[in-house]
């Protein structure tokens, strides 16, 4: 995904660095949404959802198709909701029968579904990259003390921040969150208390997919759309999850922002290393902290 946009308009030195940093935070915000969804499903249900990036891509294309009919903001919400529902349908129909098997089977199944989804996107929306312009009210930039703040980028950052806080509250401060976290520890016992654990898992899967769809819907105006966008981002999402730590909420947030800023700054300072540095970061971290930055002991060990 070597198409991070570098803003050329700003002058040298500090301004340039600031632009790169802001750009990295946007990119990082998208990674955070993607990694958070992946990690919520992984940490809570123990399923690694390879189709996560396919949901991200579907979110982007659905938002693209909805926008002319209902406007940009409703289209983003609608795309995220549709993808969330798709995630729940997938969980109920094909993932649920695999809970009793080894976790690799769910990974393989979702890998097969990703191949199908990619071809569906190619067949329906075409093989070539599509531009997706930001809506008029989010075009342009605010100017403050000589620094430029493009409106669309601020919008992405704001949405990401709100969503991260909302997901944290949902998982930690509501009954649903309690049920999900308890269900992870001992699904049988929670079920014995009269709680519908499968429903909680389905909702979790829906939540994770919704986050992927939202990330995809918002990335369109930044990077454009193409049918390879799922293939190129899934690895980065995995890398972010591994760097942050499996099953760690804040790990995904910090890891996503870290990788986003690193990539954005490297594009300008040392572009051949842009693609490689996240992997080296992951490999290095693996040597000294095998569980990642905020990894929890006992997850998948």
């Amino acid at each position: 995904m070597g198409n991070a946009v570098v803003l050329g308009a700003a002058g040298g030195g500090l301004h340039q660095l600031f632009d790169l940093f802001l750009n990295g935070v946007i990119l990082g915000g998208i990674y955070v949404l993607l990694a958070l969804g992946l990690n919520v499903i992984l940490g809570l249900i123990g399923v690694i959802n390879f189709a996560h990036a396919a949901f991200y891509m579907l979110g982007a294309y659905l938002a693209f198709s909805f926008t002319p009919h209902i406007g940009f903001l409703p289209a983003v919400v609608a795309a995220a909701v549709v993808v969330g529902i798709l995630g729940m349908v997938m969980e109920v129909s094909v993932i649920r029968p695999l809970y009793s098997r080894i976790p690799e089977h769910a990974l393989l199944l979702t890998f097969g579904l990703t191949l199908v989804a990619t071809q569906v996107v190619r067949a329906h929306w075409g093989d070539y990259a599509k531009p997706f312009a930001a809506p008029k009210f989010l075009a342009g930039a605010y100017s403050l003390g000589g620094y430029e703040f493009p409106k669309y980028r601020l919008f992405v950052v704001a949405v990401t921040a709100v969503v991260v806080v909302a997901v944290w509250l949902l998982l930690n401060k509501t009954n649903l969150g309690l049920v999900i976290r308890a269900g992870v520890l001992d699904a049988e016992m929670v079920g014995a208390l009269g709680i519908n654990v499968p429903l909680a898992f389905t909702l979790t899967f829906g939540l994770g997919s919704l986050l992927a769809g939202l990330g995809g819907a918002m990335v369109g105006p930044v990077n454009g759309l193409n049918p390879d966008m799922a293939n190129s981002i899934i690895i980065l999402a995995f890398v972010v999850v591994v760097i942050g730590g499996l099953g760690s909420f804040w790990g995904s947030v910090v890891g996503g922002l870290l990788v986003g800023v690193l990539r954005s700054v490297l594009v300008y300072w040392w572009s051949p290393a842009t693609e490689l540095v996240p992997f080296f970061l992951m490999a290095g971290l693996l040597l000294v902290r095998p569980r990642g930055l905020f990894g929890v002991e006992g997850v998948f060990e």
């Binding site: 393989l108 890998f111 097969g112 191949l115 071809q119 067949a123 591994v242 992997f279 693996l286 040597l287």
Partner: protein, 350 residues
């Protein structure tokens, strides 16, 4: 394991590797009869070796690697580069295996101890992708985005390998040796420990074996076989594209291995032939959707297999065989093959 055959009332035992050799001999005739070319036969066979190499790790120790494309790819680059200096295929393939092992050894040391299960799959996936980007950057060695060209095939004992039939039988000979090596490895005490690790990792240390050391060795052996397969593919296509290293290549090998049947020695080879044959057939179809969107069809077949037949084609064959055997045994009373479980059927049970 040998297969019992009855000829004129006497039981003959044929070694499976002998059957495999016979299958290798007739395979191109079958492929050509199926409407494909001899080049296709070589391609199918290379994928069969790749999948069996992957299975040596995944099917035996249970470690699912999503990064074996890097060994296939670096094997291809190594053989391709070497052929420019010395156009002697056996030497170039040996170099391919060596390079794959040299890449695999430090990785095994880093990854195997720290990761298992889906974590192992994620890490190998990321490391594989890292090598893909490295390959693109190392333009002097790999040719960068354009890939490696000018691969020299040369002659082998006076035989012109550029002819598809000659190339196929060279590939078949290499495949036979690689598969024989895998056969010996899986039947050795080492292979037994690997199987034990797959069945119950926690109990293996109780027997005095360190699972990490066995998994590391299996990782390196499996990389070597995948490297040889990569080297063969470099000679078949006379070029190596960096995409060979991408996770999509590994994904295809994983898909093939699973469809063929994990836990089965020859299953992955059957998977390679079926999937690649289906692929070649779909690409050649006149319908637009089949030509353009065949990966989706294969993905759907794969997803259904994971769901309903996780044992793959080998598992299905086993089930059918058991069914037929039971019917047969039921019809003839209790005189089935010795040692086979006979389902009790009303009226015939002793």
């Amino acid at each position: 394991m040998t297969l019992p055959f009855t000829v004129a009332g006497r039981r003959l035992r044929i070694h499976p590797m002998a059957l495999f050799a016979a299958a290798l001999y007739v395979f191109p005739y079958v492929v050509v009869a199926g409407g494909k070319s001899t080049v296709n036969a070589s391609e199918f066979l290379i994928w069969a070796v790749f999948a069996m190499g992957l299975n040596l790790l995944w099917g035996h120790t249970g470690d699912l690697s999503f990064g074996h494309g890097m060994f296939f790819g670096w094997g291809a680059y190594a053989a391709g580069r070497m052929s420019r200096r010395v156009a002697f295929v056996p030497l170039d393939l040996a170099v391919a295996a060596l390079v794959a092992m040299l890449v695999a050894y430090p990785l095994a040391k880093i990854i195997v101890r720290r990761a298992t299960g889906i974590y192992f799959a994620m890490i190998t996936l990321a490391i594989g992708e890292m090598f893909y980007f490295l390959a693109i950057r190392m333009t002097k060695i790999t040719g960068g985005e354009n890939g490696l060209v000018d691969i020299r095939l040369g002659k082998l004992a006076g035989i012109d390998l550029a002819r598809p039939a000659n190339f196929y039988y060279m590939t078949a000979a290499v495949a036979f040796l690689a598969v024989l090596a895998a056969w010996r490895i899986t039947r050795s005490p080492f292979g037994q420990v690997c199987r034990a690790i797959q069945q119950n990792r926690a109990r293996v240390p109780f027997l005095g074996f360190d699972p990490v050391r066995y998994r590391e060795r299996a990782f390196v052996y499996s990389a070597a076989i995948c490297g040889v397969a990569g080297g063969l593919s470099a000679f078949l296509f006379r070029q190596v594209a960096p995409d060979t290293l991408r996770w999509t290549t590994t994904g295809e090998a994983v898909l093939i291995t699973m469809i063929g049947g994990l836990n089965s020695f020859f299953g992955p080879a059957a998977g390679a032939v079926s999937v690649k044959f289906l692929e070649a057939t779909l690409i050649a179809r006149p319908e637009r959707w089949a030509r353009l969107y065949w990966p989706g069809v294969i993905g759907a077949v794969f997803a259904i297999m994971v769901l309903v037949a996780p044992g793959g084609l080998a598992g299905v064959a086993e089930r059918v065989r058991a069914l037929v055997r039971n019917r047969f045994a039921a019809g003839r009373g209790a005189s089935g093959a010795p040692g086979t479980p006979v389902a009790p059927v009303e009226g015939t049970a002793a």
